[in-house]
């Protein structure tokens, strides 16, 4: 299986060496491998055979240097240290998969960056950033201003998040206000009064969901009870602690709008522990529609963001910007769907 010719293994051949073997010049090799019409078909054939035979792999770095690009896009997971959003939230993984797929189609590779961005300057001088043709940032966290700074310099940036006043960077996002309203209306339709909101409003996207929640309540003339709003962090242990503390006070609630499916699952577990039945006593709605939401029993009702489309839009907007196109700076709206509590919904 493994070639026993010691000279070949672990030894990579140069384009010049390949040229020598083929008895032609470097330029002919280069053109031959890229199937240029300037090279004789027979010559190309010979070049290809020799390349294969001698395990020639092109030095990507040299090529990148010459062509002034890397074909790498850096994807930043904006994990919020304060809200404790954790690397284990499947939402991120689905987003990574979606973006990676779209990037592959567009001919880019994906470089992952998951340290928190402290300052625009630090990030700009990081290898990950220097090496990339463009940047995709998932979530705004609390660094809206830094993102504005970052946007002023190459490489091009696209952010997944919510529209914030004074924004200078390219944005793709779903309609969070609508999402919050849909979740709330769903609970109201089930006859819930006194609906709680679980999520940290300091994050731009969650602020909009809260606005939607508020708006939906207003439609029925419900008054807004501030004691029903809880800044639940994303990470499970902290989320549990905050929720437990809230439930210990025995609040009178009939429904909960949660800002992620993980928060919803934590909430449901906590409710059970307090002897409260779900959904008979308290109904819960999640957010994101992660794959696992359909595996719980009963299946979690949740707001679905079209992550597939999100990835496409992010990549489309970014590659457009890289090519120097002036993209229309509209906020692309992902679709929202209320998933009912049944396993097979489609």
């Amino acid at each position: 299986m493994v070639s026993s010719s010691k000279t070949d293994d672990f030894k990579t051949i140069d384009m010049q060496q390949l040229a020598d073997l083929a008895g032609v010049s470097r330029s002919t090799i280069s053109r031959g491998l890229s199937d240029s019409p300037l090279v004789n078909e027979k010559t190309k054939q010979k070049i290809r055979e020799l390349a294969l035979k001698h395990n020639y792999v092109m030095n990507e770095t040299a090529r990148n240097l010459r062509l002034q690009k890397s074909n790498i896009i850096c994807m930043v997971l904006m994990l919020d240290a304060v809200a404790e959003q954790h690397t284990s939230d499947p939402f991120f993984l689905e987003m990574i998969g979606s973006v990676a797929d779209s990037l592959a189609i567009a001919g880019y590779d994906l470089l992952l960056y998951h340290e928190p961005i402290a300052s625009a300057d630090d990030f700009r001088s990081s290898r990950a950033c220097r090496q990339s043709d463009g940047i995709i940032i998932i979530g705004q966290g609390r660094i809206h201003e830094e993102l504005n700074l970052l946007a002023a310099f190459a490489p091009p940036i696209v952010v997944w998040g919510a529209n914030v006043p004074g924004r200078k960077y390219r944005l793709v996002g779903s309609d969070n206000l609508q999402g919050g309203a849909l979740a709330t209306r769903h609970l109201m339709a089930q006859g819930c009064r006194r609906i709680a909101f679980f999520g940290d409003r300091e994050l731009p996207e969650l602020a909009l969901r809260y606005e939607g929640y508020q708006q939906a309540l207003g439609e029925r003339g419900d008054s807004l009870d501030p004691s029903l709003e809880l800044a639940v962090p994303f990470e499970s242990h902290h989320a549990n602690a905050v929720i437990e503390q809230f439930l210990d006070k025995k609040p009178k609630i009939e429904g909960i709008v949660c800002c992620s499916d993980l928060i919803a699952m934590s909430a449901i577990a906590s409710l059970h522990r307090h002897g409260i039945r779900v959904p008979e006593d308290v109904a819960v709605v999640g957010y994101d529609d992660i794959d696992i939401a359909s595996r719980t029993h009963p299946a979690l009702t949740t707001i679905s963001q079209d992550i597939r489309r999100a990835g496409e839009l992010l990549v489309h907007k970014l590659t457009g910007a890289i090519k120097g196109k002036r993209m229309r700076d509209t906020i692309s709206t992902a679709t929202l769907v209320v998933r009912e509590s049944s396993l097979h919904q489609g």
Copy 2:
């Protein structure tokens, strides 16, 4: 916020240009920025200031070409098309996070590759591979032989998986046999007889878990019932279908060993749908200990692989290989823990 000096924005400066500005040569700039003792302290200071002022960012590609390295590690998610392992399995995300952290400490960036590896040659000629100083592959899938081929050529490779006879690549893995046995013994300790196994034995890791399951059953003198073994795929819709079909036959079982937490969650949901109580009628054990396992109600008992340590070991082994060290080819054993069904386990 955004600088209005039109010459600076979006325009990146050259090292030569910086040299001209500073009135010194390129070499001095290069040495100055890397804090070489060959350069006068005052000169260094001036260089740093100018670099900052003019937003100089070094061209990483040129540097890489000269230094013959990229500082990029390619991580391959071996999603199995047949077993339908899906991008949404949080296990992968936790592994990505762990590897990324360890890589960051070691000074590497992480490039994600999540297309299936069709053949060793194809992968070797992919940009992702050409650009990387090393490769980390998560899971062997069904391509053991291709991995052997791949191992024969640079760049160095480390695989997360199970020890397979005839293996030629570097390996890191946890003790799957032990894991399977632990899970099974746990169920036996709860008094379960007739314990089923949910997972596709064609995958090397799962084959070992099955062996452990078999071994544990043997310890009590239980006979092995082939009808209790079910090749459940990883992906949720397919998993559900297979499990439903199995339960429809009303098999007499008291426990299930599942090869992932997602499979376990699917199983539990299906059991509920069949009116079977968990864990009163049938006890279930998962595998991986994903974060969400602790959020279900009741919390899922599961086998925990130390993913933190897995990432460290993978990176350590790979960076060692890159530096040309001959690493001892032992299989590193991750720890296994049976998590009991309680929310706060520690």
